[in-house]
Subunit: 237 residues, 2 copies
């Protein structure tokens, strides 16, 4: 029943914009759609990374926790890992890494994932502190973040790439989280200087987009008043 050609997505980035931050899927359900993934908790409660079936959360204080089955999320991606090695890299800058990958995989029009394990220089990651109801907008909620820096750190970058035409539903381009090998550092990646390590790649031919149709606030929200694309790009890139 596991299909490694499918990327599962619960919620949309668009619903985060006006602050629809209720947790509408449990980690237990999310793990049924993959052993690998990223997401955020209810009320933007930290930055999640699922690695080899284990759900890690970097919370707003920078602490890395393993969350329970009943942890809920407003937005998440997961898939069943079947990566292939793409290349090894040495001291490659982030822009050079991205352009090298883009040229090598030639998959701009479909969804794919990258998993990069290595040593990262000057990694800067952020994690948002959980908000409670009534929620503010994504832009306001995301101000409650801490930024963590590390000069030199071993760990895993997990990224999903989405084609431009799905911008708003997903983040067009790359959306990347990080988790250190020693589980003392992690979060949504803001920047890093360079990386030495191995780059793995997995391409999908399908997006399984699941929407929180049981959530009254989502179903009744008038999205026509939100400036979805601009708000996403300022908060999530």
């Amino acid at each position: 029943m596991t299909n490694s050609n499918v990327l599962f997505q619960h919620g949309t980035l668009a619903l985060l914009v006006p602050g629809l931050l209720d947790g509408t899927i449990t980690m237990k359900e999310l793990l049924q759609h993959g052993d690998t993934g990223i997401g955020t908790g209810e009320g933007l409660d930290g930055e999640l990374m699922i690695l080899d079936g284990v759900p890690y959360q970097t919370d707003g204080t920078g602490k890395v926790n393993i969350v329970s089955d009943d942890f809920t999320l407003p937005f998440a991606n997961s898939h069943f890992a079947k990566y292939e090695k793409l290349m090894s890299v040495e001291n490659i800058s982030r822009p050079d890494l991205q352009s090298t990958i883009i040229n090598k995989v030639k998959s701009a029009n479909t969804f794919y994932s990258l998993r990069i394990h290595g040593t990262f220089k000057n990694m800067k990651a952020r994690a948002v502190r959980k908000s409670t109801k009534p929620y503010q907008t994504l832009a306001q909620t995301a101000e409650n973040q801490n930024i963590f820096d590390s000069e030199l750190i071993d760990g895993t970058l997990l990224s999903y790439y989405s084609p431009e035409v799905f911008d708003g539903a997903a983040v067009a381009g790359f959306h990347s989280h990080f988790l250190a090998d020693d589980h003392q550092f992690g979060g949504h990646i803001l920047s890093f200087e360079s990386v030495t390590g191995d780059v793995k790649f997995q391409r999908f031919d399908s997006l399984e987009q699941h929407l929180p149709t049981d959530n009254k606030e989502f179903m009744e929200h008038d999205f026509t008043k939100d400036d979805i694309i601009n708000d996403i790009h300022s908060a999530e890139k």
Copy 2:
């Protein structure tokens, strides 16, 4: 294995815009994802409607054919029918019908389908004539269409509604095809004056978006040069 909460989509409306009109899914495969659906054939070969598992094509001359398993399509939707009756209507105009449905189902933020059987007044439908390679753009190819009119006709309207945030991947709003009971008339609906009949409704919580990743032209196309949204709205609405 049939899940009536899932809308399957092969291809995107965006890929039609620059003329990526290769048939990239067979009718046999499409029928594995539903017994109900709409789509177009390779080279915009007519307007398809799957009803109760039978794939009907209104071709560019207005003739209705049942297509074979190996008929291919660049873009299509299908799902497993589990409609519920929404209401009966009598001589309701198309704008009034749409606004009544929108207010009644309160599902603007998710995908749903309508199946309306009844008597339609002044139905105007179109079907595009098949183009061959090298394909022109959607706008150019869609000029090769015939428009069919019927003063009074019994038949089935099948429609999919997609939320605004998926515009480009799908057509935001309603995308509707028609097939007459006597199979002598059909196509993509341009307009009708009014309808008397029964309106059925089925809501989805998931979109299974399948992309033609085996198609070299799709994978290598540079979509950044296309004016996707405007071209879709002029050709498909």
